[in-house]
């Protein structure tokens, strides 16, 4: 069979039939800028940043939604392409309130990146800017539609990535905006606070309430880890500043979640900072607990175990391991019971 070929900036390039231009170029590591494109979802073609010139087509075409055709001649960096993309960035910038200095998303904003890349010199805030009150009437998500560029990524994520179907475009034309079912607060909708919409919002229109003011994007380092809740084992990035987690996002290409998290995995991290944490060994004395040193507590446990083994045998001791903690902890505990105490009385709640 003849190999499928198209021409990318004059160069013969292979593709798989059915691929979009964006997919085909990404497959060979060639970069076309995008904004609204969201992997694994239906392309919306909303932002017009990924425009390219195709020989024979009158207007510029969006790479994210145009399928490659055999022999198609594509140019990605012509002056016309460059100028149109730049103009589109300018229009987006002018469409809302993009005062980066005080925006939570600064440093982690696709629009900011594009503005820099395309050398935009002036910021014009739109004249007919509508007043949108910031909505943060829920524990996790801050919505500021004055910064919304109507890229639709949040809608794609909610409907196609996590399939919670809580938000969609409401109203028409100029008034169009992202709404929950009844255009009310999130708490009165189908929303389950997975925060996926926040994760994919390329600008500062959707931000995390718990992370607000905690760290600028460039101040954090990211540590990959595994969610401590259910058995799906979602992969997380912990955004850490000064040894403290500022927020949690999903590892985009990580198995099994491929960029998704649920409400617990995304927002349930700060229990570790609770003041109620146990910080020192405790020993019961006359009905109350008193603080003790590790040596004292461990000597007491070991001594008591030895005493019980001597009088009642090892099977008078039993232990329950923890299905939340790491493998290595469970391994050590069963080893302690089998090799040191001498009993197989070790279990965990394998069944819940």
């Amino acid at each position: 069979m003849k190999k499928a070929i198209f021409l990318l900036n004059g160069k013969e390039t292979p593709y798989r039939p059915g691929q979009t231009l964006l997919e085909a170029t990404q497959a060979i590591g060639f970069h076309i800028p995008t904004l609204c494109h969201l992997k694994e979802t239906t392309p919306t073609g909303a932002c017009r940043i990924c425009l390219v010139e195709i020989t024979g087509a009158r207007s510029l075409m969006a790479a994210c939604s145009t399928p490659v055709a055999e022999g198609m001649e594509v140019f990605t960096e012509t002056e016309r392409v460059h100028n149109t993309r730049k103009l589109n960035v300018e229009l987006l910038l002018a469409s809302g309130k993009h005062d980066c200095l005080i925006c939570e998303a600064s440093g982690d904003c696709r629009l900011q990146e594009l503005a820099y890349y395309y050398g935009i010199k002036e910021l014009k805030f739109s004249q007919d800017e509508k007043f949108y009150p910031t909505d943060d009437d829920n524990p996790f998500i801050i919505r500021d539609f004055s910064r919304c560029i109507r890229c639709g990524r949040c809608i794609q994520a909610c409907n196609e990535l996590v399939v919670n179907r809580a938000i969609s475009y409401g109203y028409r034309g100029k008034n169009s905006k992202v709404v929950t079912g009844g255009d009310g607060p999130y708490t009165d909708s189908e929303c389950v606070f997975c925060g996926q919409c926040v994760e994919v919002c390329p600008v500062g229109a959707l931000t995390e309430k718990k992370a607000k003011g905690k760290a600028r994007a460039w101040e954090t380092n990211k540590i990959r880890t595994t969610c401590p809740y259910c058995g799906v084992g979602c992969q997380q990035w912990l955004h850490v500043k000064d040894g403290k987690i500022a927020k949690v996002t999903a590892v985009e290409d990580g198995e099994p979640n491929m960029g998704r998290l649920c409400v617990k995995g995304r927002f349930g991290y700060d229990f570790i900072y609770s003041e109620e944490r146990l910080k020192t060994p405790l020993i019961r004395e006359n009905g109350n607990f008193r603080e003790a040193s590790w040596d004292e507590a461990l000597d007491l446990v070991a001594g008591k175990f030895k005493e019980i083994i001597a009088t009642h045998g090892p099977d008078a001791i039993a232990g329950v391991s923890c299905a939340r903690s790491i493998n290595e902890d469970s391994y050590q505990m069963q080893k302690l019971f089998r090799a040191v105490i001498g009993t197989n009385n070790i279990d965990h709640c394998a069944r819940t």
């Binding site: 099994p256 146990l278 099977d315 008078a316 069963q334 019971f337 070790i346």
Partner: protein
């Protein structure tokens, strides 16, 4: 799980039984829902109208505890209508004649009478399943938390083997593990009958191997006792010392009043935890432990994937890694263990001793981890088990299984069934989620979920405080009138101490796994004042 989460998004036909995945395993549910909006078939078998039902082609609202009868009914149709996979059954399984004899005792009409759905619906399920291969079956605790939990699981396996669905991508029998590392704790041998890697303690070769590795003369050969027997043992004095690591038994075990009585009777109770809990109240010694993100290690997820967990910060105050605490106790009892970090423990001990983990070393876990079995360093891991129906232990066994009712069924005094589970915004007894800002705002208290029909019968308004009582206890809790729950059922969770379902649940256990029947007991509800 025999298969992987990646299969959830690609499956063509899906049967979910006893799993409220959207709340208990939300991301797994998202993947599954992607498959469904992409055109996959979905059958949801659950007494409740769970959120997944909105997307399902068919909701089969069987009665609590009737799973075996229902599944036998489906298999009856597969056999009598000649819809099962004969080639697969012949070449990959054994025991078909016995199974056939048994399921022939469950014609759809009989299965219907027991499970409360129509015979036509049972036929419909069988035909739909037979029409698409492979179909993927997922289950959670709705299957296992019954006195016949093992039988329920075997029935699911019977069905999938009869359909020829085990051993293929997007097929298989897939239990979603509740806790992040239940899979791992089992793999590590935190079970009374097996060493790490499921090597049996009553096998002399296994004992010899581990005795040599651990440098001890001998290891105990008698399998140990399980949690319910441990707790009972505190009362009758068989267990003198009880070491509880990280579990809040006082809230999670059925019949709280009795469990607390047992814990209070312990001669010596050691609790190792990150927070004071209802259980640590009874301890003689409390040992403060490092939490998630405070030490390095690994979790193993439901899809048998060993994943890395990494350190962000040191534990607060004097709290210590759990593995260190166990090592220190061993030292004080006369054994010096060499390994001195989670990585050393895994690389030098666990993966040396458990053959299926032999090829898994920390340096190979940097990105997406590895799915066991991965017996050698060259092995890339296993995304689905029993490839093409070749079962690891020979042929797949089709086992004839009879239905039995739950241990406690409704009567005149306790006319309703209580079933329990988890809700989206919290996890278990809330030791973690209750202390994570925001989650309590979304769900701040327990409710008893009841049907419109019950609400009307008892004159109960949505949101009104009611009493729910069983032979073991009584709780006062807010009524949540919802169409999720069918008539005759009360549904509660165990996240909140106040109104915790476990004041009511029945300590009746599956004889093999000692799993409690959290999913069914008899209760009465009472309108207050």
């Amino acid at each position: 799980m025999t298969n992987s989460f990646a299969d959830f998004a690609k499956a063509k036909m899906i049967l979910v039984i006893g799993s409220n995945m959207t709340e208990a395993h939300p991301v797994a549910a998202s993947l599954l829902k992607m498959a469904v909006i992409g055109g996959a078939g979905l059958i949801v078998v659950d007494p409740r109208r769970t959120p997944l039902v909105d997307l399902a082609n068919l909701h089969v609202p069987i009665k609590v505890g009737s799973d075996v009868a229902f599944l036998n009914g489906v298999m009856n149709v597969l056999v009598t209508e000649d819809l099962y996979d004969k080639k697969y059954v012949e070449s990959c399984t054994m025991g078909f004649e016995d199974l056939k004899k048994k399921v022939l005792e469950y014609p759809p009409e009989r299965a219907a009478a027991i499970s409360g759905v129509s015979a036509e619906m049972i036929r419909d399920v069988a035909r739909r399943l037979a029409a698409v291969r492979p179909a993927m079956l997922m289950y959670t605790l709705g299957i296992t938390e019954h006195i016949c939990g093992v039988n329920n699981v075997m029935s699911c396996a019977n069905l999938q083997m009869l359909l020829g669905n085990v051993g293929f991508e997007c097929g298989g029998v897939n239990p979603l593990r509740g806790q992040n590392n239940v899979q791992g704790a089992c793999d590590m041998g935190a079970l009374p009958n097996v060493f790490p890697g499921y090597q049996r303690v009553d096998n002399p070769h296994a004992r010899e191997k581990f005795a040599a590795a651990w440098k001890v003369e001998k290891l105990p050969e008698k399998p140990g006792i399980m949690i319910p027997q441990m707790i009972e043992g505190l009362l009758d004095g068989k267990v003198k010392a009880f070491y509880v690591f990280g579990e809040n038994l006082a809230n999670t075990e059925p019949d709280i009043r009795h469990v607390e009585h047992c814990l209070g009777s312990a001669e010596f109770l050691v609790c190792q935890d990150i927070f004071p809990t209802e259980t640590t109240r009874f301890a003689h010694v409390v040992l403060p432990a490092a939490a998630w993100s405070e030490n390095d290690g690994t979790f193993t997820s439901s899809e048998r994937r060993v994943n890395r967990v990494r350190t962000v910060s040191a534990p607060p105050g004097g709290a210590k890694p759990n593995w260190w605490i166990f090592k220190e106790i061993a030292k004080r009892m006369g054994q010096d263990w060499e390994t001195n970090s989670a990585q050393e423990i895994w690389d030098n001990e666990v993966s040396q001793l458990a053959p299926s983990l032999g090829g898994i070393k920390y340096f190979r876990l940097e990105k997406d981890g590895l799915q066991w079995p991965a017996p050698s360093l060259e092995h890339q891991g296993t995304s689905f088990l029993h490839k093409e129906g070749c079962f690891t232990c020979g042929l797949g066994v089709l086992a004839p299984i009879d239905w039995i009712p739950p241990a406690e069924v409704p009567d005149a005094e306790y006319p309703l069934v209580l079933s329990t589970g988890r809700r989206l915004y919290h996890y278990h007894t809330r030791t973690q989620t209750g202390r994570s800002q925001g989650l309590n705002d979304l769900l701040g208290e327990e409710t008893a979920d009841i049907s419109e029909a019950e609400a009307e019968k008892y004159g109960i308004e949505h949101g009104e405080m009611i009493a729910v009582k069983s032979r073991r206890g009584r709780v006062v809790v807010k009524a949540n009138v919802t169409e999720q729950v069918p008539e005759g059922l009360v549904w509660m969770a165990f996240h909140f101490r106040e109104g915790c379902a476990n004041w009511l649940t029945n300590p009746a256990y599956d004889p093999i796994t000692q799993t409690a029947e959290y999913k069914a007991c008899a209760v009465a509800i009472e309108k207050l004042a």
